[in-house]
Subunit: 210 residues, 2 copies
DNA sequence: GTCTATACGACGATAGAC
DNA sequence: GTCTATCGTCGTATAGAC
């Protein structure tokens, strides 16, 4: 009887274990907060000994930082939907759809980010001041161009962006509250679709793009 | 030399100390999360010995529960602004103004609530299922009446409420991010005024009430 | 690369003097 | 009602065998 499965190389073992740990950490940090999370809990969920976590990430804060960075990267890519559009109706609708879908697919990451910012962004303050600030200024310019071209009403671009962030992320961060108000049941496919449509209807009409 | 100040009675001492502790706890729980907060930190901020906290509130969780209940009560009263209005333009504008003002005056409480819900509402789940559910159904009925009377567009009342909660609370919960994007400075009176107006403009136009 | 055992510190809670 | 001293627990992190 020969061993058919190719043995994993060191690099593959490392990648697989880091992936396992990061997925477990995202869930535990989201559900318990940074202070409430324990390395033991994350290790159990990842199915690895606690000491291995320290081997791969050294400290609890290192591991946490990596989790926060991941959701941030995902959000940045959602802006692509907005950039490749000519008019606001299409661009903002696509951005809302993308952000709502992320809230559905990555609710844990969204919560970890929210928790981090609520506590004053002790770990990712530099990201706020560089990447996020640049990103925001770029989108503000896009929206201002749409306004200048008469394609939408003259609303303050920053407050519009805050409304988009707040509303889309609310479906992840306050998902438990929404579920409770939905009779204790998670939103169905149809209800998610309705949610996206409701948000797009109100916002697009609200900025005069419909 | 006589003592002019009337000595406080036991009940007054208790009320004053509980108030000191609750204010300190709200701030510490908001900034550090439940797990990150320590009784020592709260005691130092309140200017009382740590043992006194346990005397008045027994456990850390008791103290936390009281903090969460307080912000919830404040939010419930904000709905009064909505109930005494005949048309949606006036009622929802008043609700937005009230909720925005609470975000400004009680950012810590808002964050504690957000954190509690994000972690699955382990302490106030019963409130979600009773008080909040009843409250929500009442407002849904009001909005549906406005729609039936042709005073606003036929939007889904629940998703409208979620957008109002998300957007208004965002200015408290993500206040640090907003401040960073504002050049590291807190919003001025004028900027708060602009924020309220922007939210009202987009939402009211969005639901066809303008 | 994996895991057991443990050091070390911090926190919640309480006992008991005042 | 107030406060000091302290107990027991738990969590992060590491040392060292395998």
């Amino acid at each position: 009887m020969t061993e058919t499965a190719r043995p994993m190389r060191r690099q593959e073992i490392r990648e697989q274990n880091e992936r396992l740990i990061l997925q477990a950490a995202e869930k535990v940090f989201a559900e318990a907060g940074f202070g409430g999370a324990t390395m033991q809990l994350i290790a159990d969920m990842a199915g690895l000994p606690k000491a291995n976590l320290h081997y791969y990430f050294t400290t609890k804060e290192d591991l946490y930082r990596r989790v926060v960075q991941e959701i941030f990267e995902i959000w940045l890519h959602a802006a692509d939907a907005m950039d490749h559009a000519e008019d606001p109706a299409q661009g903002i609708a696509a951005y809302i759809d993308a952000k709502m879908e992320i809230s559905r697919q990555h609710p844990h990451g969204s919560k970890v980010w929210a928790s981090e910012v609520m506590h004053g962004a002790p770990v990712i303050q530099d990201y706020l001041e560089t990447t996020l600030r640049d990103w925001t200024e770029g989108r503000v310019a896009v929206i201002n161009r749409w306004i200048a071209d008469g394609r939408m009403a003259p609303v303050d671009p920053r407050h519009l962006l805050y409304m988009l962030w707040a509303t889309t992320q609310h479906y992840a961060d306050f998902g438990h509250q929404i579920e409770t108000l939905n009779g204790g049941r998670a939103l169905t496919d149809q209800q998610w679709s309705d949610a996206k449509q409701s948000v797009k209807d109100i916002v697009l009409r609200g900025i005069g793009a419909l």
